[in-house]
Amino acid sequence: MMEWWQTLSLLLGSLLILMVLGMPVAFAFLAVNLVGAFVFLGGISGIEQLVINTTGALTSFTLVPIAMFMIMGEVMFRSGIANDVMDALDKWFGRLRGRLAFMAVGGGVLFSTLTGNSMGSIALLGSSLVPEMQKRGYKKPMTLGPILGSAGLAIMIPPSALAVVLGVVAELPIGRLLIAIILPGLLMAVLYALYILGRCTVDPDVAPSFDVEKAPMSERLIATARHILPIGIIVFAVVGFIFLGIATPTEAAASGAVATVLLALFKRRLSIKLFSESLFESSMISVMILLIVAMAIAFTQLLAFTGATYGMMDMVMNLPVSPKMIVLAMVFSIIILGMFMGPLPIMLITLPIFVPVVIEFGFDPLWFAVLFLIAIETGSTSPPLGAGLFVMRAVAPKGTTMANIYSAAVPFLICDFLAIALVFVFPEIVTWPVSLMFD
C-alpha cells in the first residue's frame, strides 16, 4: 500500500512533468487519468469507467454558461461593442493612467454580479477586453492580471452558485452567507485597484496614457448614450432577468448572449459572416476549456478515490499548533487543492471535516466559509495548475504564453493573500454586515 503523500506526489508529479514537457494540458490530465484508472480502479474496468466518468463530467448543465458567456465575449469583441465602450470611457477619463485596467476590475465586479462562475467571467472578459487593451498599448501585466484577479469575484458577489452550494454542503444559512461574502469581495476589488494605481505610478509603461484629450461634456454624454447605455441592456438581460425571477443564473447566460447579438444587430455591426465567425470561435474556445474541465474532474475523482486528498486533510487537522493556526493551515490546504481541483469536489471533501472543527474551536463558521471561498478563488488562478489560468490562455490573443499569464497573475494573488489576511485578522469584515442585516 502506498502512503497518501506518495500517491499524491506520484499523480501530481507525472501530471506536471507531462505538462512541462509540452503535452497539451487536457491530454496530460488524460494520460494520468488513464494510467491511474488502470492502476487504482481495477485494470480494464477502470479504463472503461474512465470513459463513462469523462463523458458524464461533460453532461452537466452547470457548465453550459461557460460556452454562452464565450458567445457574449466574442460578439462584443468582433462587433466592436467592446471597442466603443473603451472609446467612450476614454472621453470621460482622458488622462487617468491605467483607466482600462481599472475598467477590467470594474468589469470584473460588474460581471461578477452576472455570474457565479469565475471560468465564465474570465472567458467573457478575456475575450472581449484583452485584445482591445493590447491594441491600445497596454502591457500584459495590466491586461491579463486585472481580469484574472477580478473574474474570481464572480463567486464573491451574489448571485454565487458556489456560495449556495457551500451553504448546502457546510449546512450554513445561505441568505446570511450571501450577505457575508459581499464586503470581502469588494475589499478584494479595492485591493486590486490599489495595486493597479501603484503599479501604473511606479511603472508607467505598463499602461500608456496616450493623452486622449478630455472631450467636451456634450460629446461625452453622446458617447455614453450611444455606447455605454446599450451595455445596460445586456446587463439587464442577465442581472435583471435573474433579479426579476425570469431566468435562473445559468439560464441568464443565454439571455445575455441573445441580448449581445441583438445589440450588435441593432448597431448594424453584425453580418452573417461576423456572426458565424463569432459563433465558431466561441464554440472552439469552449471546447478547449471544457475538455480541460472534464479531464480535471476525472483526475480529481481519482485523487479522492485513492484517499490522497483525505490523507492531506488528516495531516492538516492533526498539526500540533494553535486553533487559529490550524484554521490558517486549512485555508492554505484549500488554496493548494484549488490549484488542481474543481471547487465542488474540494467542498465535498474538506467542508464536512473542517466546519465541525471550526465550530468546535469556537470560531464563526460564516467567517470560515468566506475565507474558504477566497481560498478557492485564489487557488483557481494560482500557477502552475489553476484552471482559470488555462482558461485565460485559451481566450487570450495569439502570442500570449503561459509565462506571461503566470507573471500577470502573481501580483493579484498577493492581493488575494492580503484579503485572506485581513479577513482572518478582522472577522468583523464578515460578521458586521450580517449582524446589520439579520439581527
Binding site: 484508472a37 469507467q49 466518468n53 463530467a57 449556495v164 448546502v168 441568505g175 479522492a304 478515490f305 471533501i349
Partner: protein, 301 residues
C-alpha cells in the same frame, strides 16, 4: 482470507441520509469480521452518482449504495421500491426482494438487498401558502425524474434545475416550490421556504448492488450468510433506526419556521393516490406491463 470490497455511496458520507450507510457498513464489518471488509471510499466526490451502477457492473467498483432511481437506465424497474407506502417488513413478506434479485441478475448486477428508510419520505416545499393540493395547479415545482409524473398529475408545471440553483430560483420566484425529503437542509433554506404539505409521499430505500465477479469470490456459504444477514436481520433494524435522523430533520424544519399545510383526510387520500398512481402509470410505460403489475401488487395494496 478476508475479502475486501471498495464501496461508494450516491450521497456524501456526511449527508443526513448517509446515516443508514454508516450503520450498514459498521454492522456488516462487525458481523463478518475476518471474512469480509467493506471499505467505503466516499460519495459523489469519488464518482458521478449516476455512473456508480455502471462502475459496479463493469467491476471498477465492488459495491454501491444507491438510490434506485439513479440507475433506472441499467435496471428500469429499480425505482419501483420508492412508489409505495409500506414498511420494509411488509414488502419483504411479498417476495419483492427476491424478485428484484432475479431482475438485477438479468442486468449484470448482484442485488444484495435494501437499506430501507420507509419513514424517510418526501414533501412539497413552498414559498406561498395553498389551501389544498388543488391550488398547486399551474405552480412551478422543481422535480427530479422520479417525482415528475406526480407533479404533472397535480396539474403543476414541473421544472428540472440543478440542485445548486434551487435556492436562487426560489428566492427570485423562478419556481414556486420543490419536492424534497426534509433531512438536513431546512435551516439553510429558511429565507426562501415557508410551507410544506403533509402527508409526505413515497418511501425511501437504498439498494446495495455488488459486482458479480467480485461476489463470486465469496464462498457460497458466506454469500448466503451475508445476504440473509442483511435481508432478515440488519434491514429491519436499519429501517427502524432512522428516528433520530428524522427527528433532527423535523426539528430543523421547525427551527426554520416552515409551516405545515396539513391536508384533510379525504384530500390526503386523493393526494397520495395521485402520487402512487401517476408514478406507477409512468413506470408502466417504461417496463413490461406484466412486470409492472406484478411489482405493483407487491408494493401497493
Amino acid at each position: 482470507d478476508e475479502i475486501r470490497m471498495n464501496v461508494v455511496s450516491f450521497t456524501p458520507k456526511t449527508a443526513a441520509v448517509s446515516d443508514g450507510f454508516h450503520r450498514f457498513i459498521e454492522a456488516m464489518n462487525k458481523e463478518f469480521e475476518g471474512e469480509l471488509e467493506l471499505n467505503w471510499r466516499g460519495g459523489p466526490e469519488v464518482m458521478d452518482p449516476f455512473r456508480m451502477a455502471d462502475a459496479v457492473r463493469n467491476g471498477a467498483m465492488d459495491m454501491a449504495l444507491m438510490s434506485p432511481s439513479y440507475y433506472s437506465g441499467l435496471v428500469p424497474s429499480s425505482p419501483s421500491s420508492n412508489i409505495s407506502l409500506k414498511s420494509y417488513e411488509e414488502i419483504y413478506a411479498t417476495g419483492y426482494y427476491d424478485r428484484m434479485t432475479e431482475i438485477h441478475d438479468e442486468r449484470g448486477l448482484v442485488y444484495l438487498g435494501e437499506i430501507p428508510a420507509s419513514d424517510v419520505n418526501f414533501f412539497i416545499f413552498l414559498k406561498e401558502p395553498v389551501d389544498n393540493y388543488t391550488d398547486l395547479e399551474g405552480k412551478r415545482i422543481r422535480v427530479w425524474p422520479a417525482v415528475l409524473p406526480f407533479v404533472k398529475g397535480l396539474g403543476a408545471q414541473p421544472l428540472v434545475l440543478p440542485i445548486g440553483e434551487i435556492y436562487t430560483a426560489m428566492e427570485r420566484g423562478v419556481i414556486d416550490g420543490f419536492v424534497q425529503g426534509n433531512l438536513g437542509w431546512a435551516e439553510q433554506f429558511e429565507d426562501v421556504v415557508n410551507y410544506y404539505i403533509t402527508p409526505p409521499i413515497y418511501r425511501a430505500g437504498f439498494n446495495v448492488i455488488v459486482n458479480p465477479r467480485k461476489w463470486s469470490r465469496l464462498p457460497d456459504d458466506l454469500q448466503q450468510r451475508v445476504q440473509a444477514y442483511l435481508r432478515e436481520e440488519l434491514a429491519p433494524e436499519l429501517d427502524k433506526g432512522w428516528d433520530p435522523v428524522i427527528e433532527a430533520g423535523n426539528q430543523e424544519v421547525a427551527n426554520a419556521g416552515f409551516q405545515e399545510i396539513r391536508l384533510s383526510d379525504a384530500d390526503a387520500e386523493a393526494y397520495l393516490d395521485i402520487a402512487i398512481e401517476q408514478a406507477w402509470a409512468d413506470l408502466e410505460t417504461k417496463i413490461d406491463p406484466a412486470l409492472a403489475a406484478e411489482l405493483k401488487a407487491m408494493l401497493v395494496d
